[in-house]
Amino acid sequence: MRQLFALALTIAVVWFVVAGTGIVPNDPRLTALALGFCLIAAALSGELLERFGLPRVTGYLMFGMVCGPYVLNIITRPMARELQLINGLAVVLIAFIAGLEMNIERLRPRLRAMLQLGGISMLGLYIGLFGTFWLTWSWLGLGVDVSLIQKAAIVGVLTTVVASYSPTVTIALITESRASGPLSELTLAVVILADLLLILMFTLVVQFVRYAFGGTGEIGLFVSLSWEIFGSFAFGAGVGALFAFYLRYVGREVAVALVAVCAIIAGVGSQLHIEPLLAALAAGLVVENIAPPRGDMLKEAAERGALPVLVVFFAAAGASLQLDALAVIGWVAIAVSAVRMALIWGSMKVGAKYARIDPAVGDKVWMGMVSQAGVTLGLTLIIAGEYPTWGSRVQTLVVSLIALHQFVGPVLFRAALSRAGEIGKMDAETADV
């Protein structure tokens, strides 16, 4: 009751400040207000939804959506835009935590099975989606006057983008629900593998699109692809090694140092054109596997630091959901989403069987693969910017899919974790240690 009262009071204060005063200030001043509002109100919403067995991240998302520009407009468009500034930092921190959770020694016995599952399921998903989009071309409304090769290129792009998963949401959900166990590890490994494949596939497909639409392919793109993957790992590993050195020999203000490391990866990473998610993952892997810190100070700092970042990240995502896109292309999006989920389910089932993964785990992995988020959106923005005619139509479809999958994905994955009995196991392991 006290929490509901606090939520009402917070909303009233922010509403008074934003709407009641009618002042239109400079953009940077919005950020602190938006941050504060999201931290308090979204956290409370998440807690409220958890009581109904739903993931907290869904609460954060719903808060963002309800208070965002399309519904109550308490988080105005400029506020939502300002909140996006934290996204870079959030993705890096989330990936760093994922790296910390990946102990190679522990994963080694299952590595082969993970690779088999990831490879087979991705292959099945790509083939299935390509075929579906090819056959339903006229319903997608992506362009009538295109040659066969151009159609193949557009379908290829759409397949690559729609097939993508969201490592961020998966990692966030594992962190938030304190889950640990074979399902969490398997899902995490597959989404990260899929993310690497996505970068590779997207680069190849964009080359093909440029060729199909009369542009010239760039050999430089392959160089940049190599840089993006290997450079990211090398940069992240270097930063991780330095951080491990700091933890071992200084070991003070760990939370602040962690945020600084994440800010460096996010900031310098974008300057160097590397993939921050991969770099942060590599940094976490190095710290965990090569120079693990003594005691739990880093994990404690990361876990404490993760919650505010997750709250703001998902509330911002909710506020930025383009609900108008869903309204425009709703039925097509729902149909595509259903096909995607069915293909994920089927290909995961086949992959798990081939890789001889325990059915108790293998049958549930698909539920962790439904979410989609920022990376997917980023890729469609590139396409829409380069090919405005059909690219913007692809963008509308993908934005609608993201809106759907951001809500469905976390609910499904939490249900899977709950059925596998892995929720809260991270705390139990820490206690055992």
Binding site: R2, V13, V17, R29, L30, A34, G36, A306, P308
Partner: protein, 370 residues
């Protein structure tokens, strides 16, 4: 060469001895991070570019609110029969410093006819308010009575400048609202957000409580900055309410704030350092600021010691010379509202803080036997 080494040894040995006697160390945060900020800022290496400073503006609003909360809690938790007298003593000391610096600056500005986009009255008032804040000396079991009283006076002497700062900001801001309305808005916002925090903090724990405390501070700073009112005043009101409210809220908040205190102060000082743009106006303002602040603190401390119980009159003012970060924080707050015309004020206050810290090494008294 040996003579130089010998001289250096003697100086450092003296400093070590005096530090052991209760002097402030020469590496106060102000002396380290302000110059570092200046080196990193646009006037230096430009690692902290103007765009980066724009982003840090967001953090500064939160830092200002946090400092306000610190002072609000410190003022609100003062207990004992002498609180009323101490509050009066602190207010007198702060008022004397404001009058000393403000009055002298106003007279000099008029005499120099210095060009300024901000009115002379507001420049004088702002400098006076920045000058009146003091850093509380650290206190432990071995501290003497004067040091203990000085710590409490230094906590309380920030209250008056923060309240008057709300007025000054309103006058400097371009808004057409009434001054009293702005001040009431700051206080009202602070109290409303604090009430929300009070409902949340004690029921939560761990990382969740971190989220609520962080959110409340961001909301305090953000709401005040959005309305161009004083985040310091909003934070002060919130801190005071938490200190008065039933339960342990002020302890919960203070515990959490201690974790972020150092990083926040570092960010504030580096931002202030990076914002420094040496100018003739800044240098001209710096000299009277430093001189009349020292005069104001010594005189104010002497007067305050008449009201404070059991304090050596010669010592209290000397303890209050280290300026701490509140003055710099307020100068940055004015910079947020007034933009470029406030740059000379930031320079004068920052340079004044560094020199005052140096001065404090020499004049801070050794402890008397307990």
């Amino acid at each position: 060469m040996p003579s130089v080494a010998g001289a250096l040894f003697r100086i450092t040995a003296t400093l070590r001895t005096r530090a052991a006697l209760g002097l402030r160390p020469v590496t106060a945060p102000v002396m380290l991070f302000l110059p570092l900020g200046a080196v990193l800022g646009p006037s230096g290496a430009n690692i902290l570019s103007s765009a980066a400073l724009g982003h840090l503006d967001v953090v500064i609003s939160v830092v200002l609110a946090t400092l306000g909360v610190f002072i609000g809690i410190a003022a609100g938790t003062q207990r004992g029969a002498s609180v009323g007298r101490l509050m009066t003593a602190s207010t007198v000391e702060a008022a004397v410093t404001i009058l000393s610096v403000g009055g002298a600056t106003y007279v000099l500005l008029r005499a120099w006819e210095m060009p300024s986009a901000i009115t002379y009255t507001l420049v004088a008032l702002t400098l006076g308010l920045c000058a009146s804040a003091s850093a509380a000396p650290s206190v432990d079991d071995s501290s003497d009575q004067t040091r203990r009283v000085a710590a409490r006076v230094a906590d309380l002497d920030d209250v008056l400048p923060i309240v008057l700062g709300g007025v000054a900001l309103s006058l400097i801001g371009s808004g057409d609202r009434m001054v009293l309305l702005d001040v009431a808005l700051s206080i009202g916002l602070g109290l409303a957000i604090a009430a929300s925090g009070w409902l949340l903090f004690e029921l939560s724990e761990g990382a969740e409580r971190d989220v609520f405390v962080l959110g409340t501070l961001a909301l305090l700073g953000g709401a005040a900055a959005y309305l161009e009112t004083s985040p310091l005043l909003a934070g002060l009101s919130a801190g005071w309410l938490w200190a008065q409210a039933p339960g342990q809220t002020e302890r919960v908040v203070a515990t959490h704030l201690r974790k972020v205190q150092h990083p926040l102060v570092v960010i504030l000082l580096i931002t202030a350092g990076a914002s420094l743009q040496p100018s003739v106006a800044g240098v001209w303002l710096f000299a009277p600021y430093l001189v009349f602040r020292t005069v104001g603190k010594l005189t104010g401390g002497w007067l305050a010691s008449r009201l404070a119980p059991g304090v050596a009159p010669s010592d209290l003012g000397a303890y209050l010379i280290p300026p701490g970060v509140i003055g710099i924080a307020f100068a940055l707050n004015v910079l947020q509202v007034a933009s470029t015309p406030a740059l000379p004020l930031v320079f004068a206050v920052s340079a004044g803080a560094v020199v005052s810290e140096m001065l404090a090494v020499i004049v801070t008294p050794a402890p008397r036997p307990v």
